[in-house]
Symmetry: C2
C-alpha cells in the first residue's frame, strides 16, 4: 500500500500507451517482504489459466528476463531451477507484469513440451477444489 | 513436491467428476512454509484476469469460505482484512482451488462495487509491465 500517491502520479503520466499496461524501464521489485523472494504467478497467455505459483529471488527474475524462460528459486532445495529443465516443459515468457506495491510478479507464458505444467502430470497445479 | 504418490493416487480415484477439478472434503493447507501464511491468487471468474495476490492464514481462509468474501491476513498491519470492507469492492468467491502441494490457493471471484480491485483505482493490481 505504500507509495500510493507516487504510483497514481506515475500512472497519470503514462496513460495513453494503448497497451492496457504501463511500461517501465527501471522497475525494481521489493524483495524485502519474504526474505529475498517474491511470489510469481504463472498464467497461460492464451487461455488465462493460472498454471502454478513459484517464488523468484532477484537472480531468478533476472534469469527469467534474460533467457525468456520462467526460472524460480526453490525454497526446499535453496537453488535456482528453470521450469522444464528436465521434463522439457519449459514456460516461454510472453509478458511480465508487476503489482501495485512491487512485491509480486505475474508472468504470462506459452507452455512448451507436452504442455503439462504440474509435476503430477496435470496441465495446471490447481486441479483440486477446496471442499 | 511432497506426497506426489498420494496425490496421484487420489487424483486417479476421483477422476470423472466432469468438473475439470477434483472436489475434496477435508483438504488441509500447508501453512508451514511461510510462517502460517499461504499466497492467495485472486482471479476474475469470468474474464480470467489475475486481479491481485494476497496472503491468508488459516483463519482468513476459513472466513473466506464461511462468508463467501475474500479475506486476507495483512502482514504489515498483522490482522485480518476483508477486501472491500471500506470501499465496498468486495470479492465474491465463486471457487477455491488449491495447488498440488497444498501451499497456495487460487480464488475465483466476482468483482463487486465498482469492480476496481487495486487501491490505485485500477481494475487489477497488475497494471504495469516489467521493462
Amino acid at each position: 500500500m505504500q507509495n500510493a500517491a507516487a504510483i497514481t502520479a506515475e500512472r497519470r503520466r503514462s496513460r495513453g500507451t494503448g497497451r492496457g499496461v504501463e511500461p517501465h524501464d527501471k522497475l525494481k521489485m521489493d524483495f524485502t517482504k519474504l526474505d529475498g523472494l517474491v511470489p510469481a504467478v504463472i498464467q497461460d497467455a492464451d487461455s488465462g489459466e493460472v498454471l502454478m505459483v513459484g517464488f523468484m529471488n532477484d537472480t531468478a527474475l533476472a534469469k527469467t528476463k534474460e533467457t525468456g524462460f520462467a526460472t524460480f528459486y526453490s525454497r526446499s532445495r535453496q537453488k535456482l531451477w528453470t521450469k522444464g529443465e528436465t521434463s522439457g516443459n519449459k514456460l516461454a515468457v510472453q509478458q511480465i507484469l508487476i503489482d501495485c506495491d512491487d512485491d509480486t510478479v505475474l508472468v504470462k507464458v506459452k507452455r512448451m513440451g507436452d504442455g503439462n505444467v504440474c509435476h503430477t502430470g496435470e496441465r495446471s497445479c490447481f486441479f483440486r477444489e477446496l471442499g
